[in-house]
Assembly symmetry: D2
Homo-oligomer: 348 residues x 4
């Protein structure tokens, strides 16, 4: 960490700042310029709280040399994290596909989608049981009943189950039902819940907040990891910008940035990023070649009658043809979607 | 609600859409243009879920004529809401001042600030006991001990207490300790918590999310209100934009917009909006004349040694002089900060 | 166009609005709802000025059904535009590559890059002669001398030349020197210059403004086209958002959106979008599969000593290997970079 | 300027970087840390081009201590700039009011507005003769005829004239017609035009670009100043954000920031910032108390029939009452709008 002091700082103030810094257990090197003085901290600064330094009257700027996250940091974990979930593996040479409708509506609906998903080679089934809706008047999901349906369908089809948690009081419930617990964009900085999820023995799929910087997103991963759960999967799902044609703007550049800064796997959700079904294909393909470890796609047997987000859902046939395209692209990148060919008719 | 259909929609699809609409309990008027058909819904559409309509294949655009919120809507509540909190009143001709440090650090610190606050005419004392910090390594607040200090200091000085809740599991605890429960920007769409707060008999100070539109903010208020708690106070605290000089960008225009759309009182927090203490004065003054019902200001007896956000905190003397300026401006707008002159030395 | 009127609009005001609308040469259908009245315009509304309608006291909302651009609109030009530039073709099954340094520095530098570019299969050479720099103290480019160098190098290597115009007074100069005239992001709404470029017989590469919506971008294309020059090539180069890790945020979703709304070819510039050389590879690859018609890449023989934007420039070897990857991906999308194999050593 | 080098930079690379730095005419102090080396530049660094430094392979970060602008910098010009325009003064204790319609439509229209403006105490009359419209199909202004009307009306009423220039070819024309040449938001980084305006002996009103940072805005002022014209007036007019209720978001905080960083006067344009007439009053009032040197307001005798931007225009009566409110607030801030009482009926 480099601390640039304001010109004409008094020797007394500098001394007391240096003492504060030493109290963090680092060494302090001082460089007296003509106009300004620079303090360089030597040692591990990842967990130093910058606030009390920045608010000192004599500090012009604090520059972190080390990123403020540690467990999520590639610097301290050079190899890509590979996350085991049942028979599936996220990261490494697998390109993971999570597919399913926005909301769980019925067992029949989920079973239809699950069969399509499995048939095309997807690894996980997604479906919302508790839905974060900006309006209290919108459909809020089936709740526990939805989770039960997911569990049943997962068991029957062999697909892993991913579902979004909305309340820290449901951590145990989710632990007992799903294979990956999803944290939605709106809860990315629900720190109380993140702490609870750090104590759970289940992988967490952490979506990026609508206006979260990449650093803040990784700091939220750090919250989970520092509390004991290292199995965090990141998911870019579009950020809020001035553009109104799409619901959000997919930050495809976040994929290589995250891969550089962190060892955690990163997925892309083009359905929520755009809100438009016909954009899912080109953006899923972009995700593969930009280095993502997978995609999360909305698929619905009957989008026109979906209870939420039908406009961004693929129909089964479209999804199936997209999967073939993704498989081809994944292979050009040294990855693959499908391993166990026996379950996938079109690859046999 | 107006629904514009795509050109060449089949009569059959139109019929089935009309049936869906009728099921919402509204009348549907149909207008057949040469190129497109328009459906107008007649009746109360505030709580209609737009999603299943928008995702219909034949729908070009859905235009709400009525705002999607109802209890927060001025249309159905023409008078300004005036919220009673103990002896204090928020809204109407009062310009409310909430002052205090970012974090509760000790009883001594809080007592010092509280005396300054009361002396200058502030109505409420703020202080964070549970702190939402983007880094798990930053000071997380004193927790319950902090709340106890707040309660003690509030009792002793007669100031109302405002503190931020971070977890839905703490609702009861906050109910028993503070006078106003604050929901921070990062939890504005923590819907599970909003629902719980709807069942509490305490006013809720709802901060605007970093990237929340005004409509989404009012929808979050609606979540609380529809669950039974009508005493919601809004607080604009800066939005995230591309500008990096200030921490966030104060959306001063949100004040008149909220006053137009809603009957709820709206405060402004210039400390968090900018992160810079010398901007608090001009922006507090702007808040008064733009029509805000009050301000929330960070004041710390010793900002250089604050445990969080010292850079945006006013020193007591600066705060005291600002209060006089705000009183003068409030009077030009038909409002006043100070009612009970006996406690305020400089007004006597 | 659909115009929703405010409740309780007087019959007299409605009549005078209808007269205004009829004066635009369209038919007006009126739909009287219980609470509000809707007017639907029938006919060609693409060039109707919405402003005087929107500012009417009785208008609640104006909804365009037809996009406000016409010549750039795919609705009126179903086939993709294919733009001929010398021996090259932009659009259709060609994936165009424009490569070169940010600034022209010397003939030697340009010749080195040009040979690398041609050798790897690029079609055009880019280089700035006039540089838009936010600081008046930064290197402003070689000016006319730079253009002369570009012309010489273009002639010698057979590569087409692309360079950015900064001043409407240079239109003739550029017409006589380059093959494609580039309009930079900062001049996307320099309407006086766009009009002049509409009168020129050269293709225009129109970069998207830093905060321009896709619609505004297409409207700027329309400015050029309506003035007589239909050969417009669009180029997405990142938009300004809150994220600070990258210089801008590449809006990869803009590619499929533009392809849907317009028949014009669209390129992607990942170098300016990110400002980071190691992000150019993944994002160029994303551009290919998202449907772009080409990329514009910064390549510099010696980035460390570049006079501008070295940090985002690829070295020749990296560029060459990227070209092979792009060729492979382009082929998966039914496109190709390299046609004339004789000039490209690695494809022989 | 502080340059933080990457860990393990080779001594040879450091030496060659130091040589580059010395070539800029500054001294270089070197600080060798354990993990990284820091170079501090001593001397005047305001006009050093950071690009070639940043793109060095061994540079981790460049931190400017000195702002990158010089003539616009308060550091080198402690006193507020006061700009004389005819009999009027912008800056110091004057709160300047520029009023008028978006577009010049006719002499009669301008004369009506001018009389209202003068009567209420405004100093300048604004009106667009050349209009920057995002659509080529929108009204583009009366052009030269519009300027002639402005000149005539200005002479007759004694009001100064402000109008927006759209093309660098019109610099002479504007010089001979108006009192203040306005540069619109879309041309804030039209550097060729800024350079020309640097050679003119007329004050320039420089609007902030829609997505320009405060620093970029001041750099554009620097372009004009460094070319010889020191009379630059800044104007905040709203920035582009995700919020869609208002056309743009007024960045009221930019006012105190600009006053801190620069000695130039700064105005606020609430009409363009919001696009909504009823927001002009609260935001104009906010501008006064936030420290602005004036406001630019749209006033139209008949907004419903305005040829552009009627929705954001005040009617004469509303404008007149607002002027009284602004006068009262200006006096609380040690400023005044009206000096020569003889022309203002309501102040007599």
């Amino acid at each position: 960490m480099i601390i640039v002091l304001k010109p004409h700082s008094s020797e007394k103030s500098i001394q007391s700042l240096v003492e504060l810094l030493l109290s963090f257990g680092v060494k302090v090197q001082r460089n007296n310029g003509v106009d300004y003085t620079v303090l360089a901290l030597i040692g591990d600064t990842a967990d130093i709280n910058v606030a009390p330094i920045q608010q000192s009257d004599i500090v012009h700027k604090v520059i972190r040399v080390q990123e403020p996250f540690k467990r999520a940091n590639r610097l301290f974990h050079l190899e890509d994290s590979v996350i085991k979930v049942g028979d599936n593996t996220i990261g490494s040479d697998t390109f993971t596909v999570i597919a399913g409708p926005c909301s769980v509506e019925s067992e029949e609906q989920m079973m239809t989608v699950a069969k399509v998903a499995r048939e095309s080679g997807a690894h996980f089934l997604r479906g919302g049981a508790f839905k974060p809706r900006s309006s209290p008047y919108s459909f809020q999901g089936l709740g526990r009943e939805g989770l039960d349906i997911l569990k049943t369908v997962g068991k029957e089809t062999g697909l892993g189950i991913v579902s979004e948690i909305m309340s820290m009081d449901d951590v145990e419930l989710f632990h007992d039902t799903v294979d990956i617990i999803q944290v939605g964009a709106r809860n990315m900085q629900n720190f109380s819940m993140l702490k609870e999820l750090g104590k759970v023995d289940k992988p967490i799929l952490l979506k990026r907040g609508l206006s979260a910087t990449i650093e803040e997103w990784l700091m939220s991963a750090e919250y989970i990891m520092v509390n004991g759960n290292e199995r965090v999967i990141l998911c870019e799902r579009g950020i809020r910008t001035f553009e109104t044609y799409t619901r959000n703007t997919l930050d495809i550049g976040a994929v290589p940035v995250v891969k550089k800064l962190s060892h955690l796997p990163v997925l892309v959700d083009p359905s929520h990023a755009t809100g438009i079904w016909w954009m899912v294909e080109p953006l899923s393909k972009a995700a593969v070649v930009a280095g993502a470890d997978g995609v999360m796609l909305e698929v619905h047997p009957d989008p026109e009658n979906a209870m939420s987000d039908g406009a961004q859902s693929l129909k089964p046939a479209k999804f199936a043809s997209l999967m073939r395209e993704l498989e081809i692209l994944a292979r050009t990148q040294g990855k693959k979607i499908i391993d166990k060919k026996e379950t996938v008719t079109w690859l046999k």
